[in-house]
Amino acid sequence: MSKAGLLLKRTIPTLAGTVAAALLLAGCGGATVNQAAAAGASGTPCGTVNVALNAWVGYTANAAVYSYIAQNKLGCTVVQKDLSEQISWQGFGSGEVDVILENWGHEDLAKQYITDQKVAVDAGPTGNEGHIGWYVPPWMVQKYPDILDSKNLNKYASLFATSESGGKGQVLDGDPAFVTNDEALVKNLGLDYKVVFSGSEAALIQSFRTAEKNKTPLLGYFYEPQWFLSEVPLKKVSLPAYTPGCDADAEKVACDYPDYKLNKVMAKKFADSGSPAAKLLKAFSWTNADQNSVATDIQGGMKPDAAAKKWVDAHPDVVAAWLK
């Protein structure tokens, strides 16, 4: 019997102790450093803002500047969460995500979460215009001038073959979570290529950098605005022109990506809360050059927060207009 109770006997003092501690703490009063500080710092009705952080540096730049201003000018608490694009949208329903700072299209998700479920609202354009496409390093264009036409790609397929592409040419994609029609494009344009995923923006950039440096062939998915294009001016391959609706069926896409008017999205609850951070989000708008300058700083090793501070300090008028 004593053995039977042993585990229990050991657990009970532990539990009792924890409870006693809790009681004692309650007895000691609520004047903790946590609450005291909160009372001191407040004065603004801004609470906590949950910002989804998607995995490309341009997005990080937007998020850094927005978070910096919300924290330092509005006194909000900003919580950044690393999430992939589509998963972020699911957070609007649960309250896990208040803000998406750079949305690339996603009409299906907009319909689901904004129109049908009414848990999110559009917070207006970021001022950036996005382009997705297939790019090659500049040295290839000099050597093979006609490579920029997708009709000629099959001619060069063997050039792009790697050990991963199974004898075909390789189209290097990024994160599987990114917006991409590349698998369908390869098939529907009858290209002798295979899409291979590098897994991240960082891996794409590294591959393009190596390709240009060592003059090795590479065809890959890339996008603008993008700081890296000022380091290596990649050349875009022209795919069959985009016409409205040509990408409606994901399996049958055979045309280029549309021009994306990048926008911000926020949770309905957050928008209705009257938080100054929601107002700031609606006003937030800047140029591709702005984003690239912050992104370049971050990529150069600066902390996102420091890069944001540098940009904010250099552009007081823009920030003042956002905060009006």
Binding site: T32, A38, A55, K81, Q112, D116, K187, S198, A203
Partner: protein, 677 residues
Amino acid sequence: MSTLVRDRAPVQTGLVSVRAPRKRLSRRTLLLGGAGVVWLVGFLFLHGTATLTLPASELTDLHRSLNQFNAWVASNRADNPVFQYVFTPLRAAVDAVANLFIGVFAASTTGLRLPEIGWLGTVALLSWIALAVGNARVALLTAAAFVFFGLQGLFTEAAYTFALVLTAVLFTLALGIPLGVLAGVYGRVAKVITPVLDFMQTLPTFVYLAPLALIFLIGPASAVIATVIYAAPPVIRLTAHGIRCIPENTREASDSLGTTGWQRLVTLQLPLARRTIVMGINQSTMAALSMVTIAALIAAPGLGQVVIRALQSLDVGTAVNAGLSIVLLAIVLDRVTTAASRRAEPGANRRRRISRRMRYILLAVSFLVVLVTVQLSRTMLWAAAFPKDLNIGPAFVSGVSSASEWLQTNLYLFTVSFREAVTNGILNPFQSLLTETPFYLLVAVIVVAAFALGGWKLAAVTATCLAVIIYLGLWSDAMVTLAGTLVATAVVMVLGVIFGVAMGRSDKVDQLMRPMLDAGQTMPAFVYLVPFLGLFGATRFTAIIAGIIYAAPVAIKITADGIAAISPTVMEAAVSSGSTPWQVITKVQLPMARQSLALAANQGLIYVLAMVVVGALVGAGGLGYDVVAGFVQSSLFGKGLAAGLAIVFLGILLDRMTQAAAANPVRKVPSAKSPAH
């Protein structure tokens, strides 16, 4: 990624190698050889036809109808009774508990988002708990580890992870122990539960992350629920095993005293099974930690988020820093629960150095100290948030980063040519052998092989598994996955034999290797991916390496145990008859440890398969990629779900076939049967 605990009976490595009758063995060999020849000939003449390839962007009707689930959940969330009365309250309850612990240890929602108990109080409280359930050594380890998290600049992240693990383990035990007891007491319950547990453990974690996130939305609540699903099987299995393994005569002695069922459970079965149950708690805790890390993908806060960010930006320094925290946390949790299970051993009382009374006094006194530190950490800022000046994290990160950059630039030629050689020389030919053979031919070959290994029953199971994979529309992807898995398992077995023999032959090597293997097993898979990603890029090769690292420790341990279990008399005889060490190894030790080797191959395969999806994060194609893509792209949701199921059926197929191969060829001898699980 997973700790697939199956309560297998220990392998019998007696002198069971009674040679099979010549005729029977040759029939098996004949069948296997014939199947191989048919395969090769078929490949030569028919390759490229009937490969059932499905391009990555294309879906079958089945996938499209699974996609509907997504839309159905979206439209029914608000008013379907299942959501109103089951899912939503469940989510709210789990969320409340998770937020309670997060608020206590990591960050409360009020004010500065400081926790209720600051870092100093957390360190003191957790060390005290380690002291109370374990001993002074693990208490010191706990304190040191948590202070180190602070020095790394990751205290808050580690506290988040800890809070989530704590929540998940509580729910796991509340669910797992009663279920385990039921399964242990009633054989019928065990019969129903065991296949479900098998299924849960073979199902890749990513597969249920997507539907769970859909139903329970992203956030700590879904993370905890996913973790419970992942962590519950070990404690259920071990609890049931502990209760079932109580010696018959002990039970009868108790029955003869006229105990009722409940009395028997409380006074006999639970106390005697206590140590096994605590071992189950240990296993579940480790599983919970590795899952909480992965759940960062559905917005679980903590160390996992840091690792994911590092993975996305190829930042080796940050990944190693956060990985170190995870490994340390794993070691702390492992050692504390192990110490607790030692303490739970019958007779542990008598071995104690200090009296129980003395111990209680010590605990009470130290608890007062804990209370003081907790109060301090609530009122003083320096004790609430870890001092920023004491942060060696950035220095460490940049140190590791520059070291890895140096390696990447200087080893680039070597790593790339090694990778290319393996990929072009072994992986690609083998993969095309599997993917380009017509599917009907390969199905026939595999079924014949299954028949040769395990008779009609196994052939039927195998045929069913293959039929399901074809029905799921993922045959070609499954073959890509199979190729990678088999190559990785082959390497695992080579490592298993080399290191297993070394460990089995020498206690010194064993003592040296075992802690490293333990560390390799406790380390969540995510952590070591980043350095390899840096060295080898996102390729199938990197994915195979990830699988090897994960599976090798298990194979090595099983082989070592098998070699060490060979009776010394046999060894003496071999040595005294003048055999060289090489002869002893090849002629005596390896043949006699044959069953262990087969078990090692079986477990190696299952472990490698468990890494398929994680491998897809670093460039593996096949089913793993389908699962990952289905998780992040809603148009591929159904395909991802189907791919997850395909992995399960591939797992069942490989498990059953290797088990049959492990069984002694003389199937008539009952003692030589492979232990069922």
